[in-house]
């Protein structure tokens, strides 16, 4: 709908709804009727125009939220100096690291087998369960179920992240957790009766990771793709995204590991809660104002509530984090 469709709108004053000088000889009631009609037409036009603007803005913001951090991590991988993370302006050491040493051994030994196995199992599940699910279960019921699950997960992560950020729950010592898990897995692998066989522990860990994350993607792609009747293109986009994420992950794994776990969980918790609530509403038949753009408003609301809760809880009592920090050795504090 364009302004040209209005017909009677001929001046900027008309377009903004200001009263205009009546034509000579026109009567009062006729003027009033024309003004009402114009206001109605303008009202009818404003909403589609808003919807037309809101949708691209929503996708632009969503893309920026994903593309900008990915681009920053990629640039950081080849140019650590740019982000004050190292001395080199340009280096390929991270790229070499991804395809040499222990990472390369793990990739060739067990990870590719487990990834392929997990993808095969997912494909079977999608064919056996997903396709009948789409055809026989109403899409709105699927949206409510998936939305409710996202909401449970999102609220749980958000709660823990708020408590950790405000110091009422101890932060994970990520280095310690990583070292303990690696040692445990290494012990299990070395105690295997036939060490020359393929790494069963590595297979299990990588299989579970790919399968669980893949299942989440499948649920989202099936729900979104089926609701728009474009399952093919949604699946193709998900496949392309998997390749891009794998490439970025291989390149910037080291940099990503330096992002605090709690920060990631906080952001993901806000996103999951917002998407979950939106889908529950959509599935139940609620029409959110601005359609998809309502997600951004929900993200804003939950972000504000989260920040406010953290700030409020920080003032309430001496925090666990302060106590933990005080007890930490100097190296870890740095």
């Amino acid at each position: 709908v364009t302004l040209a469709d209005l017909g009677t709108v001929t001046s900027p004053a008309d377009a903004v709804g200001r009263p205009t000088a009546p034509p000579s000889g026109s009567s009062g009631p006729r003027r009033s009727g024309s003004g009402t009609s114009l206001r109605n037409r303008l009202r009818a036009v404003r909403i589609p125009l808003l919807a037309q603007v809101a949708r691209p803005v929503f996708w632009l913001i969503l893309s920026l939220l994903i593309l900008v951090p990915s681009a920053c991590f990629l640039i950081l991988a080849v140019s650590p100096r740019l982000f004050d993370q190292g001395p080199q302006w340009f280096t390929l050491s991270n790229l070499r690291g991804a395809f040499s040493g222990a990472t390369a051994v793990a990739l060739t030994n067990s990870i590719w087998v487990s990834c392929a196995a997990a993808v095969a199992v997912l494909a079977i599940i999608v064919l056996v369960v997903g396709v009948p699910l789409i055809h026989y279960v109403p899409i709105n019921a699927l949206r409510v179920i998936v939305g409710a699950l996202l909401l449970v997960l999102g609220l749980s992560w958000l709660r823990k992240s708020i408590l950790r950020s405000s110091g009422h729950k101890a932060l994970h010592d990520e280095d310690l957790v990583f070292a303990a898990t690696s040692a445990e897995l290494a012990t299990e692998a070395s105690s295997s009766p036939s060490p020359k066989r393929r790494d069963a522990v590595g297979f299990g860990v990588a299989f579970k990771g790919v399968f669980l994350e893949g299942m989440e993607v499948v649920l989202i792609v099936v729900s979104l793709g089926a609701s728009q009747h474009r399952l093919g293109i949604a699946a193709a986009a998900a496949g392309a995204a998997a390749l891009v994420v794998a490439a970025i992950g291989a390149l910037v794994a080291k940099q990503l590991s330096q992002v605090p776990e709690n920060t990631i969980k906080l952001a993901v918790g806000i996103m999951l809660t917002s998407f979950g609530l939106f889908w529950v509403g959509e599935g139940a038949g609620v029409h959110w104002p601005g359609s998809d753009a309502a997600i951004i408003v929900l993200v804003g609301v939950f972000s504000l509530v989260t920040m406010g809760s953290i700030a409020c809880l920080r003032t309430l009592q001496p925090t666990v984090r302060q106590a933990t920090k005080a007890a930490m050795p100097e190296r870890v504090k740095e």
Partner: protein
Amino acid sequence: VKALSRGVRAFGLFWWDFLVGDTPELLIAVIMIVALALLLRHHHDIVIILLPVITVLFLLVSTFRGRQQDGTGPNH
């Protein structure tokens, strides 16, 4: 049979931990949100305000409840 029962038990425990765990109030909140969304779906003006408000309310209640419990609780 033993492996199957172990698998079923592990599956059940996973879902119990995922849905209930140490925050049963969040599951109640989600059930309430779904029920309200279904019941009030024709009252758009009310429901678009009510759903976020209830979500925020339960999040705050659960967080403040967690504040009293945690610090000494399990670190997961």
